[in-house]
Amino acid sequence: AQSVTQPDIHITVSEGASLELRCNYSYGATPYLFWYVQSPGQGLQLLLKYFSGDTLVQGIKGFEAEFKRSQSSFNLRKPSVHWSDAAEYFCAVGAGKSGGYQKVTFGIGTKLQVIP
């Protein structure tokens, strides 16, 4: 079964600083990888996803993530953080199944605080 580890429960960065949120996954085959963001009182919004092809994936709101198979990682990055980026970020891995559907496993989330 697949699993996801987000080692940082809480991260604080200054506005304008760069950001990297770590995600490691465990899955036997090529995974399908996602990053979601959850702002206070909001639902989960997809930031970006990796299915195949270019290992550097661009998402919304200026985020990007890089799939590194050798490290089983899919870290999320942003060169310059804005105060509105303060939220909780979830990494997720999906696995195909013989029945055809995708079972997605989520990490426990990283809460991002942005200070002025």
């Binding site: 996602f34 979601y36 639902g43 989960l44 997605v104 989520f106």
Partner: protein
């Protein structure tokens, strides 16, 4: 177009009472998921529906939990004889493509359940 909607947005109930949570998926989406998000936890998969196929109930934590999906659209998650540990945010997601694992789930805003 309209996204995934859930009702009620908040529900407070007394221990031992039954509750029903509703999810309206995006029109045309054949796959529907229920997750539970407890405080400080990631998303816990509960149940999956795909078209007219038998649902995957492998994530339901106990037989007090059940879900149905009528007409391949609206879904209701029922929790019988609620316990305080059932307090959580219940999230619904839908997707349009559920083959080979290449799908994106779109989430509703969730129902926040508090069992007193």
């Amino acid at each position: 177009g309209a996204g995934v909607s859930q009702s009620p947005s908040n529900k407070v109930t007394e221990k031992g009472k039954d509750v029903e949570l509703r999810c309206d998926p995006i029109s045309g989406h054949t796959a529907l998921y229920w997750y539970r998000q407890s405080l400080g936890q990631g998303l816990e998969f509960l149940i999956y529906f795909q078209g007219n196929s038998a649902p995957d109930k492998s994530g339901l934590p106990s037989d007090r939990f059940s879900a149905e999906r009528t007409g391949g659209s609206v879904s209701t998650l029922t929790i019988q004889r609620t316990q305080q540990e059932d307090s959580a945010v219940y999230l619904c997601a839908s997707s349009s493509l559920a083959w080979a694992g290449q799908e994106t789930q779109y989430f509703g805003p969730g129902t926040r359940l508090l069992v007193l």
